[in-house]
């Protein structure tokens, strides 16, 4: 199996956010909100860190 780096980020963020959402909140509505929040933080944080590394290199 081959996977792109960004694809790996998306898959990792998706599954981790699902587990975080279910385990860290009690109400189903809050679970979805927290899961979505985690997903955005994971992906957004990775993109931000990538740009920081690019800026350090250049």
């Amino acid at each position: 199996m081959t996977i792109s780096h960004f694809g790996a980020v998306l898959l990792f963020a998706l599954f981790t956010s699902i587990v975080f959402g279910i385990t860290q909140r009690s109400e189903p509505r809050m679970m979805i909100r927290f899961g979505a929040f985690c997903f955005v933080l994971f992906v957004g944080g990775t993109i931000a860190a990538s740009w920081v590394m690019w800026l350090i290199k250049h």
Partner: protein
């Protein structure tokens, strides 16, 4: 008398449920929630954790063994062990024993370690649900 016996049985059953949920949730991802009839949550946890572990294997990630001396290897082994029966099956079928050569294989290793850690979180969550420490 019969009332006392049934009350005692109920108490014994309710006191064993948290430990059963913890153990089942560790051995089979999501089973701790399913034991408490939380089918959707259990199913989502099961699919997420098993898929993460399988992707890790498909990416040719490494499964850590218990007899290594390096501290990081021991921590990674502890993470892998969190997957419960998935870890046992992977070791039984000799999966994840190839040396890591490409970056995506290293991703695979991390996927499996994180899947184990997430499984521990979900098993503890099932335990908290069973004891009533967590609402619904």
């Amino acid at each position: 008398m019969a009332t006392n016996v049934s009350a005692t049985a109920r108490t014994a059953q309710s006191s064993s449920l948290p430990m059963m949920a913890l153990l089942a949730g560790w051995l089979i991802p999501g089973a701790g929630h399913m034991l408490q009839r939380k089918w959707i949550r259990g199913g989502l946890l099961m699919v997420s954790i098993i898929t993460m572990f399988t992707i890790g294997l498909a990416l040719k990630g490494k499964i850590y063994s218990p007899n290594t001396g390096d501290l990081l290897d021991i921590l990674n082994f502890a993470g892998d062990l969190g997957s419960g029966l998935l870890y046992v099956l992977a070791r039984l079928f000799d999966l994840g024993q190839m040396p890591v050569q490409v970056a995506t294989a290293d991703y695979g290793t991390k996927f499996m370690v994180v899947a184990g850690l997430l499984n521990i979180i979900s098993a503890v969550d099932a335990h908290s649900l069973a004891t009533g420490r967590k609402r619904s």
